[in-house]
Amino acid sequence: MSLQALAEVIKERLGTLAKEVRIAKGHVEIVTEGGRLTEAARALKEMGFDHVKSVTAVDYPKEGKIRVTYHVSSYLKEDLSKYIVGLSVDVPRDNPIVETLVPLWNSAEFFEREVFEFFGVHFKGHPDLRPLLLIPELAEKRVLRKDFVVREEGIYEGVPHEYK
């Protein structure tokens, strides 16, 4: 199955669930609307996409939205395992809530925790939504959002002089 054919199949299968299906660089990109993410994910799972490779998010401060993307692929179906499908959903920036996909794909659990701590996206129904990599006070600052200001260091702050 070629990438073109896969996009056609997905477009046919999802129908109105997908706002947009297009071929990006080497993978198929699907954009859905807020309430239809779970249905679209279920349809993809019935097609044979059985795991999430990564969950990521992009911050668009000017448009006031955050785009959460699930990259899914397949282990068991050989013709699908060559491709990656990105399933995206746009959420408002001030109140980002996404329905969790952990009941469908178990491997999304830790990725969703990461997106939660870096972008502040809340996943409704997630079994254990705690910060994963950052310390709690850093996680509250939502460090990968565009408006987070990184502390600037000088060119060389220096190492304490050699102890004698």
């Binding site: 310390i135 850093l138 990184v150 260091e153 102890y163």
Partner: protein, 201 residues
């Protein structure tokens, strides 16, 4: 047939004879070195690093103890438990969560103990300069030797161990530590409450 029967070296201890070794050491050292200097000399041959792999420099650490570079010839044997080691190599970036683990591991090691900070990240952040989640290792533990490079080659790490041995003998680090209990010039920069403040049991 019993073990050793017919063997020409029957009756000898193959692993080394302690009495003979002690006698030879006495011949070499007696009247030439002070007791503290003997302690320093002996410590340089027993630097056992604990394996705390914080980042990708751990691959170079592994290569240094491979047969090709063989850092064990300097008396350094990588060991698992911090309780039986006296030497720690910070292998790369130290994140805020790992800083606490680093401090706890360092505090568990026996005196006298030494630290080598390895790689550009351990110097001043390196690739992760200006990051919100990286701490400099010298804020967490007192560092003796720094190695530059991203990552440093195994030869550089072997050279750093040799430099550390030289430093221990020249500055009498081990013996001074043992007589004074704790070296004042090796005070921690940041108290433990700050390093581990995120940790709530």
């Amino acid at each position: 047939m019993g073990a050793g029967v017919g063997c020409p070296r029957e009756g000898k201890v193959y692993a080394g004879n302690l009495n003979v070794a002690a006698k030879r050491a006495r011949e070499i050292l007696y009247g030439k070195l002070k007791l503290g200097e003997v302690v320093d000399w002996a410590t340089t041959f027993s630097l056992w690093p604990v394996h705390l792999m914080t980042s990708c420099c751990g691959a170079e650490f592994a290569a240094t103890w491979s047969p090709r570079f063989d850092a064990e010839q300097y008396g350094a044997l990588p060991w698992i438990s911090p309780r039986q080691t006296n030497f720690i190599i910070i292998e790369g970036t130290v994140t805020r969560k790992m800083a606490c683990a680093l401090r706890v591991t360092y505090e568990q090691m026996v005196h006298p103990k030494f630290v080598i900070a390895m790689g550009a990240c351990a110097l001043d952040g390196g690739l992760f300069y200006n990051s919100y989640n990286v701490v400099k290792p010298w804020e967490v533990v007192p560092v003796d030797i720094y190695i530059a490079g991203c990552p440093p080659p195994p030869e550089a790490l072997a050279k750093a161990i040799l430099d550390l041995r030289k430093k221990i003998r020249e500055k009498k680090m081990a013996s001074r530590w043992l007589t004074e209990g704790w070296r004042e010039d090796r005070e921690y920069l940041v108290p433990k409450e700050d390093v581990c403040r995120w940790w709530r049991p």
